[in-house]
């Protein structure tokens, strides 16, 4: 559990000035070790650079300063093999059936047809999408479409799964259930998971550790060990320690959220 899977060293990200707008220092400098097999949640005020952090870890954006490594190799502005990303927005391919959506990466990687069939069927079964294999994303609810995107990521058997507010557009009940599915997926795959979320309860429920970010430029002001057992689900929300954990996260975040909104500390 303690083996470092991905590491950020002195990472910062500055968006250069463009078209009459000043440069934006979005992130860092920050350091972070993601431990192999852990579920790491990231919370922070709006606009603090959470998504930028995910982009930098994924290799979708290069850091302006510092280094990012994944499995001891530098991540240099390109998504390394072994990393899967699920975005908040619907990223399903509307022109493909659910089955073809999930098979997309495997086919692109040139896997044998029989292997594609087996792994896609398995992923669909795991995500409860078997009955919708021949449907198009437009025929599914938002939650189901997000499941398709998760299945498309899962089928590639990534060792590090990055999730950028994947349940942000879903209603509260669906989010809780999707959280349970995510925990099940995390346990079954053995992958390391980094979840970006604005929902404190979601981070508290799902994570082994929660990184709390400051207002922009985002830095970690604290990283909290939740102490949950690996076998857990949304029912831990009823435990007294869950309330205490969420309250602690909020006490850390409140001042930063006010700062992000442009208010002074009252």
């Amino acid at each position: 559990m303690s083996q470092v899977h991905a590491r950020l060293m002195g990472v910062s990200r500055v968006y250069p000035a463009a078209a009459g707008q000043a440069a934006v220092h979005a992130l860092g400098p920050l350091d972070l070790d993601l431990r192999r097999g852990e579920f790491f949640g990231v919370v922070g005020p709006s606009g603090c650079g959470k998504s930028t952090l995910l982009d930098v870890v994924a290799g979708l954006a290069a850091p302006s300063e510092g280094r990012v490594t994944f499995e001891q190799r530098d991540v240099a502005g390109e998504v390394p093999d072994g990393i899967g990303v699920v975005f908040q927005e619907d990223a399903s391919f509307g022109w493909l059936t659910v089955w073809d959506n999930v098979a997309f990466g495997l086919r692109r990687a040139g896997r044998e047809a029989a292997e594609v069939q087996r792994r896609v069927d398995e992923a669909l079964r795991f995500m409860g999408l078997v009955d919708f294999a021949r449907a198009y994303p437009a025929q599914l609810s938002g939650g189901m479409r997000q499941r398709v995107c998760i299945a498309r990521t899962l089928v590639m058997e990534p060792r590090l799964i990055l999730l950028d507010e994947p349940f942000g557009a879903l209603d509260a009940q669906t989010r809780l259930l999707m959280g349970d599915e995510l925990l099940r997926l995390w346990r079954a795959s053995g992958a390391t998971v980094m979840l970006i979320t604005h929902a404190l309860d979601e981070a508290a429920m799902l994570s082994d550790r929660v990184g709390v970010m400051s207002a922009r430029p985002g830095r970690f002001i604290d990283i909290i060990d939740t102490g949950w057992a690996r076998e857990r689900d949304s029912r831990i929300a009823a435990e007294p320690s869950f309330g205490a954990l969420t309250a602690r996260l909020w006490s850390l975040l409140r001042d930063e959220s006010l700062k992000a909104l442009g208010h002074q500390r009252p």
């Binding site: 979708l60 990393i83 990303v85 975005f87 927005e89 391919f93 509307g94 022109w95 437009a138």
Partner: protein
Amino acid sequence: MSRAGAWRLGILGGAVALLELLCRLGAIKKITMIPPSEMALALGRLMAGPAMWPHAAKTFGNVAWAFLIAVLAGATIGVVLHALPGLRRALDPWLATWYAVPVFVFYPLFIVLFGMGDAPIIAIAFLFSVAAMTIATLDGLGRIPRVLRKTARVHRLTPIERALRIDLPSAFPYLLTGVKLALAYAFIGVIASEFILSGFGLGHEISFAYNNFDNRTMYGLMLFLLTAVVLINLVVQRIERRELRRRGR
């Protein structure tokens, strides 16, 4: 058949019946228009004979050339302008006012450049069509969600793979709109050019029949063209509808 489809068919049938009645009663003179039933008979006669087909082949051949070149050029220009926003900003006013330009003013220039024959006709029809395809391509590429581009990077697609596997299918419904418009404009360009430019083709044959008061041939050819254009458009529209339905639109 949907209720709207039934209404459409009913309105069309009613209009044809009314026209038939007005022609038969003499409210519309025979020199102006023949009854639709006679147009259909004239069309049957033309289709049974050998005279019309070489003209039809010439017209449809020219339409096909103008359409194909316009679709390829329009899509290419669209892709280039999408990739170069500065150039797009510079050319946007031209694209916006393209259809305000009476393309036929270039007719003498094309005759000088290409001589008499098919080339100036295809050139005029191409100019009619190309802007529609360019604008549709720009529209389609502009509407590809950013998250799909990010997804392409997560899957480590090369630029060509991304274009073929993500950009093209994502923009496909908008491209189809461009294809539909380009086809319609190609027909307009070719037929209109044949009226004034050519000694051959359906446009010329309609003009020739008109000048010789041969209403049967003229209306028979017009009906043939209308039917062909409507049928081709129905095919494209069916593909477009299937794509839009698939995407929940």
